[in-house]
Amino acid sequence: MNDDLNFPASSEASSPVPPPPPPPPVTAKPSTVSTPTQAVLSEAAHVEDAIVRTTSLTKMYGPLPAVGEVTLAVPRGSIYGLIGPNGAGKTTLMTMVASLLRPSAGSVSVDGHDPAVDSGAVRRITGYMPDGLGVYEGLDVGGYLEFFAAAYEIPRGEWPSLIDGLLELVDLEVKRDAAVNSLSRGMKQRLSLARALVHDPQLLILDEPASGLDPRARIELRELLWALQGMGKTIIVSSHILSELQEICTHVGIMEAGRMLAEGSPDDIGQRLGALRKLKVRFSDGTEEEFEVVDKTAQIELLRRLVNDDERDVLEFREMSAGLEDVFMNVTKGIVQ
């Protein structure tokens, strides 16, 4: 048996013959996990090509730190998820990176520029989509994007092709002449994203982009983010809904009460915390089994072994539980400030 694999954790009711009880997980959760704030799990120091880097970034409101000594590194080309409950400091952190808010202490660097000193340079390469929709109700969709194209000083001659391209990207071509106030929330959200992309930024900062969206709109948004990543853009996206981020993020930062509790790729964080990926396998004989593995490599190894060695044919092989949820529950304490 591969050391990384944890054979069946449980069996489903549909399973005719219950599998033998599983051995204990190979990777035990380290005891340090229960007190996550004592040691920040961060990969920031190891990221070489970071488009955003913060060091001990702090924002104080009176005696209360909205963001306290956050150190992170966002690798270029990644989708970086900021996870945390409401009031964790995600928005404050993002507004400091976006040059909207001056830090109380610490430093931020966006592609080598300090947002507090050279905000113009930061804005040229950064698209920011705040939590609110922020749309002018009196304009039509095309006029709205034209307004922002002008505000970003894009030459007028480039507007038609730019706006056509953006509307195609966010799938709003047919709404070009529609009044902004006639759009659904999902459409307004996509329009806001198009607005943030008007000046073709390298870095996109999206604050709770999926809040209030229906399931279809969420799926469309997720696909849009993948498409943007494919275009070479780095995306920082926040949410307090883990399932939203789990599928799209290459890196995550888990925040609580203004602190960064863990930071890095989900697999690495999970590995360091001992969180296991739960997998469900359905076989051709109708049985279902669950497995726990520590990382993707182990997951591939499990699939290979099941396909090659197991007598039963594998009908379905899927990740069952939210590994990110386990990580989140492990590192956070439920502190609200």
Binding site: L100, G120, P130, G134, V135, F147, E153, S192, H199
Partner: protein, 335 residues
């Protein structure tokens, strides 16, 4: 925020290419363009202009009726010039009162409205400088005011039929009216940039407009009461108290009657104020005599309207600057 921080905030959105800041603030200002599009779209503007013209027409008709009653059945040809001026001044006074009502409404929500619609942050993230945003907002309000004034020109032109008013008189009166709108608008935009909610900003802006319109008169009354309580024979409040008053400034910028006799002046609020201003000046005059013991003539210093323009320009510059600082980023707190 310290001076250095303010400079840094302003520099934060500076462009690499040198440019004439004020020129660019007006030319191709996206905020100005959008505001104008939003303002003139829909039926709201039609209703607005109709109401504006209806009220001014009503004032013109009432003024004409009042003058007819005052002058009797037949108006003396010799006093036709004064009648024409009275018609002009009544309509201009009506426009001033409406402007003092309109401008806070047009500008108090300029920035708070953006905040409430959650459009301020996306705007702050663009390459527009805070000053461009403020000037765009202010010039949009002023442009709308110019539009209303132009729409009312035919009503003002009625006075030309009677006579007594020159194009220069009209230019002076309307110029001062628009200047008043600009200064009041700039202070209201500053209020809007400083406060969080449109409701609060609107209340403060209307309070300011009211103070702007009548505060000086309260000041004069307070001075007069103080003089009287001291047992001064003739109360003598300083005419400069009217330096901040738009009614006094417009009254002062319009020409006096041909022979400068108070009794010949128009029977309008402006005419009444001109009389009051000249009375106050004369109070001072009789306290000063030349070497021959002859009382010095009136106009011992700059006219009221000149004070008004200077104070107004200072307010305009300070308001635009402070409003720009209030919307500048990076900010010290989330707004």
């Amino acid at each position: 925020m310290s001076e250095i921080e303010i400079e840094q905030s302003e520099k934060g959105t500076e462009h690499s290419e040198p440019r004439l800041s004020l020129g660019v603030s007006f030319r191709n200002n996206p905020v100005l363009r959008r505001e104008l599009i939003e303002r003139v779209r829909g039926v709201k503007v039609v209703v607005f202009v109709t109401l504006w013209l209806a009220l001014l027409t009503l004032i013109l008709v009432l003024a004409y009726q009042g003058i007819s009653l005052n002058e009797g059945q037949e108006i003396d040809v010799a006093s036709l010039g004064r009648v024409g001026r009275e018609l002009y001044e009544w309509v201009l006074f009506g426009m001033l009162v409406l402007v003092l009502f309109l401008v806070p409404g047009l500008t108090a929500g300029a920035i708070t409205g953006e905040r409430e619609r959650q459009t301020l942050v996306p705007l702050q993230m663009t390459m527009m400088r805070p000053r461009d945003i403020i000037i765009g907002k202010l010039s949009a309000a002023l442009a709308f005011l110019v539009f209303l004034v132009v729409a009312a020109l035919p009503l003002l032109a009625v006075s030309f039929l009677v006579g007594g008013v020159t194009f220069f008189d009209m230019f002076r009166g309307l110029g001062m009216l628009l200047f008043t709108g600009l200064v009041l608008g700039s202070v209201c935009v500053w209020i809007s940039a400083t406060l969080r909610r449109t409701t609060g900003a609107t209340v403060v802006a209307y309070g300011l407009s009211f103070f702007f319109a009548v505060g000086s008169f309260f000041g004069l009354i307070a001075f007069a009461i103080t003089d009287a309580s001291r047992g001064v024979d003739e109360v003598n409040p300083p005419a400069e108290l009217l330096s901040l008053n738009p009614v006094a400034a417009i009254a002062d910028v319009l020409p006096r009657s041909a022979n400068n006799r108070f009794s010949d002046d128009t029977i309008t609020p402006f005419g009444g104020l001109r009389t009051a201003i000249d009375e106050l000046d004369n109070n001072d005059r009789f306290e000063n005599f030349d070497e021959n013991g002859v009382p010095l003539n009136r106009n011992r210093g700059p006219r009221i309207w000149i004070y008004y323009v200077v104070v107004g320009l200072v307010l305009l510059v300070v308001s635009i600057r402070q409003a720009s600082v209030a919307v500048a980023t990076p900010a010290d707190s989330e707004r």
